[in-house]
């Protein structure tokens, strides 16, 4: 089991409030990603759950038991660090076995479990090597091996892939997701990369300035952002946010429309503008359109569109996909 519940958790360092009243229900077996800009408190929230930081107030329940006064190791969680944090003087075997050794398991059982974890992660040939003799991807695997071997209630990942190169990152992303589904263990994953969040998560927690802005599945967040922050943060390229008269016409302080929901139409239809940059990717065409008072709008066309910088275009938003926000940034329900 690995159900994690946060009730009114807050954390301050001196006078600075890092986490403000976080409430969250993480279901057993789900893959939850904490995402947000740097400094939003996502790593702090993870460290609070891990027990590496003490909460200032509130409760953290793991399987219904309040663990705020329980030391990290007794919470039954394991953590994968951004820097891997392998023990440099121990072999891969020693690294993976360390937690079991500390738990006082019999030697034969430790050996068996380490072998099994190594086999799962394709680390068997490297068991007797030291971490410095491994590549970045292999080190990351060892760090994951150290986490899975303890059969924890939940895995905590702190930006584990950010030190890897782009190609390896995509590969490890899939491996981590696959492994988590295979083991069925709850996972909390911190990242600042919204693509990682969208591709890996069952549910995403969007954090901003220590506050949980929205909690939901990737598509819920994409299609129904609760506020301007989430609307602007999730999705690439960013959602177009327009305020002023055009927004007032829809009865909102700000309206948002995703690039793929802007129809590129004929003369006289919608908002006029001039293409300032056209990106032709083959599969998609991205247009950055200078639309006068509305600012620069991004439009996405699936497939190839023969337009270039300087061309005049007309953009009309799909009314069904238009997001309306009030002056406080909250969404206005239709």
């Amino acid at each position: 089991m690995g159900q994690i519940t946060l009730q009114g958790v807050h954390k301050s360092f001196g006078p600075v409030n890092i986490i403000k009243d976080a409430n969250l229900d993480i279901e057993d077996g789900s893959f939850v990603v904490f995402v947000g800009p740097s400094g939003c408190g996502k790593t702090t929230l993870l460290r609070l759950i891990a027990g590496l930081e003490d909460v200032t107030g509130g409760q953290i329940l793991i399987d219904g038991r309040n663990v705020v006064d329980v030391p990290p190791a007794k919470r039954g969680l394991s953590m994968v660090f951004q820097s891997y944090a392998l023990y440099p003087h121990m072999s891969v075997r020693g690294n993976i076995a360390f937690g079991l050794k500390m738990a006082g398991l019999p030697r034969a059982e430790i050996g068996r479990k380490v072998e099994a974890a190594a086999a799962t992660l394709n680390l068997t040939p490297y068991l007797d090597r030291k971490p410095r003799e491994l590549s970045g991807g292999q080190r990351q695997r060892v760090a994951i091996g150290r986490a899975i071997v303890r059969e924890p209630k939940a895995f905590l990942f702190d930006e584990p892939l950010s030190n890897l190169d782009a190609a390896l990152r995509v590969q490890m992303r899939m491996e981590v997701t696959k492994l988590q589904k295979q083991l069925g263990t709850t996972a909390i994953y911190v990242t600042h990369d919204q693509v990682e969040a969208m591709t890996m998560a069952d549910k995403i927690v969007v954090l901003n300035a220590g506050r949980i802005e929205q909690y939901g599945s990737p598509l819920e967040l994409y299609e129904h952002p609760a506020n301007i922050f989430v609307a602007g943060f999730i999705g690439s390229p960013k959602m177009n946010l327009i305020s002023g008269e055009a927004a007032a016409a829809h009865g909102a302080a700000t309206i948002g429309i995703r690039p793929e929901h802007l129809k590129i139409g004929q003369e006289g239809e919608g908002w006029p503008g001039t293409v300032s940059v056209a990106e032709h990717l083959g599969s998609d065409t991205f247009l950055y359109v200078d639309a006068g008072k509305l600012g620069v709008l991004t439009a996405r066309y699936i497939g190839e569109l023969n337009l270039k910088a300087g061309d005049r275009v007309w953009l009309s938003p799909d009314p069904a996909r238009l997001h309306r926000f009030d002056k406080d940034g909250g969404v206005i329900q239709a």
């Binding site: 891990a50 590496l52 030391p71 990290p72 190791a73 007794k74 969680l77 394991s78 953590m79 660090f81 951004q82 820097s83 944090a85 392998l86 023990y87 440099p88 003087h89 360390f98 937690g99 500390m102 738990a103 150290r146 303890r150």
Partner: protein, 276 residues
Amino acid sequence: MARKVTSRRLMVSTAAAWLFGFLIFLPILWMVLTSFKTELEAFAMPPTFLLFHWTTENYATVQSRSDYVHHALNSIMVAGGSTLIAMLIAVPAAWSMAFAPTKRTKDILLWMLSTKMMPPVGVLVPIYLIYRDFGLLDTRAGLILILCLGNLPIVIWMLFTYFKEIPKDILEAARMDGATIGRELVYVLAPMAVPGLASTLLLNFILAWNEAFWTLNLSTLDAAPLTVFIASYSSPEGLFWAKLSAASTLAIAPIIILGWFTQRQLVRGLTFGAVK
């Protein structure tokens, strides 16, 4: 792109390195050679390099005139004792400053270093008077105390930089893995810190062994280490170069042998942090 090293360039830099090394080594070599000359040849102008009448009489004289073993034992006890005590104080100090720093940690470190900027002679008289009143003059305990205090800032600084290099993540990983503080220390921290501790220990021992200012001023016979033994050969009756060289050679021999066998540790210690 890697810089291209031509064989010519390599030859020139190798030759330069050898020359530089030889220049540094020359005074020591000269001292050893002089110790095997007669007093007359030690003065000779132009000096002779290898073709002189080799003799070991200086060593015999030095041994008969003063008790080398007594001074060497004092050196070992004073250098060893001050190093051990300094380490006992410095390890926890550097530890807490590296892993639990406060707002004032930096200030404390700088203040400690600043004490090394003061010329020791500036406090010689007060220290001498304190030592006289407390009966510490010419005692091993007195020398151990002053050398320990003198080297403490350097030892703490060195250890602090070592401990700083140990990533905090690794300690947290150990905590997540269920290690208690004691086990964290035994299984994770100690193995990672051993090279740093060893090179600090060695360097501090060498510094204490070679320290001459305080040992010459605060001891005469009973507690006198090898530095005093050397100095006793530059006497008012005149300089006895050959005997002085023999005494000096005897005095530095143990530390050179120690340094030779631990040079890898020492180089690693002195370049730590500079090269990853």
